[in-house]
Subunit: 345 residues, 4 copies
């Protein structure tokens, strides 16, 4: 049994961490912090949890975390984690940070997209927590920068093909669609029911902060300077993310070659399901699960590769992957606590 703390437990990513950790056979959930709800029982904030999670939310205290946790999940807005993570690490805690603060190896990239970084010395050490790609590094990691939801859905289909030099690196377009929970639990007019309902729209067209995150990993994995065009959209549903990717192949490419590349890269990995050209992923098929379903085909007349991926933005796109990272860091099977049978509807 390891002892886990969730910092920012009442946001959607935090609450999803609570869901997964409360059901994890090797984890004891010791600390839940919440700025807004400190002092309240967690099941008052999320009444679904009544009778299941009986913790009370606490104010954030580093001492308390250091005392009571072996691993800390920080589910906070970026900028805050970098102020507390160094202390946790110095006190021999393992940390999975769900913000962007430790996703970039180079401070300059982070600072261009976000703000000045106050814990640069940890950037080189932090491992980017894309489990299927950095499994080996993750086993030794003390600090994991948990990937963004959009990057997860874009990188899992792209990394194997780029590692195998199959795509023109300048040709890649990532068109992503996310459910509304991605915007979090903070109130905003865009997440107001009557405004989000019956609404499909693009936002932050080609200027979203997940763009450099995608680029930096593709660059690292391909060994070439890769940069993609990225457009996120909002879908009127709570959970789910679907990403459609367009790219020009370097040489004439067959559907079989893509399938074989993806299949061998992800062989034996429990959470990537390769769908093939006749079965298209669907966000409903991954709802509430840690799966990433990947489809692929070739638009023959235009010799263009089309990849599709579906994830649950709160699970594989956030908290599920965070728990998968913890599993790897602590030597558990990576699927532990994450393999509930999916809902048929």
């Amino acid at each position: 049994m390891i002892r886990a703390g969730v910092v920012g437990a009442t946001g959607y990513a935090g609450a999803e961490l609570v869901r997964l950790l409360a059901g994890h056979p090797s984890v004891e959930l010791t600390v839940l912090t919440s700025r807004q709800f400190a002092g309240a029982r967690f099941d008052i904030v999320y009444p679904a949890m009544a009778g299941v999670v009986d913790s009370t939310c606490e104010p954030l205290s580093l001492e308390r975390l250091i005392d009571a946790c072996d691993v800390v999940f920080t589910a906070l807005p970026h900028k805050i984690p970098m102020t507390m993570v160094p202390d946790l690490i110095d006190n021999h805690k393992k940390v999975v940070d769900l913000s962007a603060d430790f996703r970039f190896q180079e401070a300059a990239l982070y600072e261009a997209a976000y703000q000045p970084h106050s814990a640069k010395n940890l950037l080189k050490e932090a491992v980017y927590g894309l489990c299927e790609v950095y499994f080996d590094e993750l086993r030794e990691a003390r600090l994991v920068g948990n990937p963004g939801c959009y990057p997860t859905s874009a990188l899992l289909p792209l990394v194997p093909l780029l590692k195998n030099d199959m795509l023109e690196i300048g040709s890649i377009i990532v068109d992503s669609k996310s459910g509304v929970s991605g915007a979090g639990r903070s109130l905003s007019i865009g997440s107001h029911f009557c405004e989000a309902n019956d609404s499909f729209k693009a936002y932050k067209v080609a200027v979203h902060r997940h763009n450099p995150e995608i680029d930096s990993i593709l660059t690292r994995e391909s060994g070439k300077e890769v940069s993609v065009t990225f457009v996120p959209h909002l879908v009127p549903m709570a959970r789910g993310m679907f990403t459609t990717i367009y790219a020009v192949p370097r040489d004439k490419l067959t559907v079989e070659a893509i399938g074989s590349c993806l299949g061998s890269y992800y062989a034996g990995r429990p959470f990537v399901r390769i769908k093939g050209p006749e079965m298209v992923p669907d966000t409903r098929h991954v709802r509430g699960t840690n799966f990433c379903d990947i489809g692929f085909t070739i638009d023959e007349p235009h010799q263009r590769v089309i990849l599709t991926a579906a994830i649950d933005n709160l699970v594989k796109g956030a908290s599920g992957q965070a728990v998968q990272n913890m599993n790897i860091m602590f030597g558990f099977d990576e699927g532990t606590g994450l393999l509930n049978v999916p809902f048929p509807v």
Copy 2:
């Protein structure tokens, strides 16, 4: 390990049984039958299950069920189960029938609401599978008539109060609201997305077949001839059922007395959560779970008791309760396989 078969595995109740049984630690899922999809892998019909359930659907065969199962769940339209259940029982199988065929002790009641009954001799033996009310009978049962979704949501709040003679039996009104999955997977214009979306409506006003089912159990439990007014409605969401009940108290009644009556009746039962007057149940809080959340208050100026209940119509209203029944019949803890941590959103 017991061996379980699901007859009608590709309907929504059947598929939800597969979800729950596939995750049950003491069950081996041996047979899935489907008329429409015989020969197809279950995960082709429900791609969410890829990598998790690798069974292939079979045509219905009594021999095969008798050979390969200790318990059979029949998730079929009423009228069909009564033709096969006697054979299963004769061959020492335990049966949980999710249709209406074995919910009535008296054939006349069934026949008035449905059609002639061809296995009347089993009606007296069959136990009505409302787990919290008939726990003791269920432990010995060979055949369970699993309750309808509406009756479950109406009976759990009402039974304790009627047993304690707290309500005027002629005054009870049950106003229920169900998600669209209650109408099943068969195509119909009422379940067509564009017709069900943005639509709230009543249907079968005061003539729904769950009305006599509710009445017969209330009559049995109260020892008086009880009959309620029952109106079902459809809500534009997939899962969830909410029931609001109005009744006149026999004597002046306090909120505390109701709370105490419900609380003591359900003491120690894991799936009934009493919410009390200040916390109203919400279908979102029970989504995907086997919980029944019960709220209550008194409309003081009119001295009227108001009870509310929320369940997931596919879980506590169908397949979850069916698995809970199996647990009780086989001596497992009643919560086995049914206590996954709920989703926060």
Copy 3:
């Protein structure tokens, strides 16, 4: 052409007024006020209106309203209208107030449910704007208290039956279900997409402020002290309200008698559609329209009358009825500007 102003034009009721008045053939929309968006073009707040409504929102100014309007619609939270309406009336403006401030003839009722009233002298003069019931008074009205959405859906089915002494006045139960837009455009966790989606729940059980409003009109129309049990619920859709009413008939009553009572009361009125026992109302059938669809049946075994009503809470439940009131006050046909053909889906 009359000149109309909308105070509080950027809330949902205000914006719906803008929609209806901008399309009204005899109205010039001269003033739109908005506290939050003063100075901004209306079509920046509601981009749907680009190219159709080119007004700019103004801060609230009584002088400006007096100068530029013949009729003023106040779509503000209660308490504010009573501070400005007297000045408007003194300056010979006609006023339709969409708050609760002028819905009660007796200050005591208002003050028990809301707060002290500062314009009591206008209460007796103000006409309750339930168009089909108070048509004659509305023709002469200077000030209209526009009905609440729940009361509209409850009163239209009940008033004719109570006027004809058909129901036991102590037996009436009103079970209402509303779309989320009823909670307005102000941000709140209850209207947050991920919280309202997949959620059906009751709220303010038997303590909602629309309860005394319903009671006071039923009392006035029946000549007896009527008080109903009222429970509102929230439905996961943007627009629409459905109300189910239960009552005991005073004498044995037939479906025909109810149909004939409703039919003759609403004969010739364009916005009430009597559906009869075989056709149940549906919120989708009235979405975006000023219709109130009324269904009725008798639960024979329990001799209970069941009435159902569907309205669009933003139209007949608020802004459409407000425009209908204006039409009547100014001698236009009551349907002017309100008879757009409904959407099929």
Copy 4:
């Protein structure tokens, strides 16, 4: 007053035609045909229309159409219209066909995507009803092939830029997202509420029949052989279509140049609203309207043009554009009957 008939009036496109034509000031709706509902009142099929449209559906009869109509709208599955349109044209009727049968000038293109064409002689004469592009031809047209929904949303942003030779013709990618009503009223598992809800997915990836339709018009307008990559997706909402387009500019291009190209092409046209780089279109802003909102920006680091468009698939994507075509053919103002004020929510 012209007399209009709708063939296939009870499908979604047909019913939307009824909505628009019933509210059109210069149209008398004389014939509604329906195979499935012949003999039934239209308002039994669409109860929203009670009191507004009192027509009865008829079986299809060419004689009756010839007798009673000046213009006929055929809202039928492709293949059927080509069997009846020649007779209508011979009898001097004007025809707007909403199927694909008359959208291609060259039979070979049609036959490659659909089936053998039995009225080829009319293909050259038929005008492609993209109102803003073929206005002049439409004024003289006897027969209009009304555009598909996807092509409308892709062509309106692309045509001006291609006419001005601004884009690399081989670089164009069209990523479209449609509401579920696009799949029509025929029952299918994909349109079943519980399957479409919470589901976002791609379908017919790069093999949809609207692809050659888009290509043929872009080729005609640009004078070059253009072919695009096209991927359609399904969004869990009833109405609305959003299209995101990616293309490489031929020369360095500024946002201003794009805005000016689009702005001058659509100057004076009431239904195209150019949004510019800071305001992104949203399906909610065009719901129920005939507008096409167009956004655009340049992804500077990759020198890629990104265009976005939002339409209501049933209005500008089908029946609204059909009525606009009728307006142009008969010399009415093109906006007649199509300029209702949009809904704010």
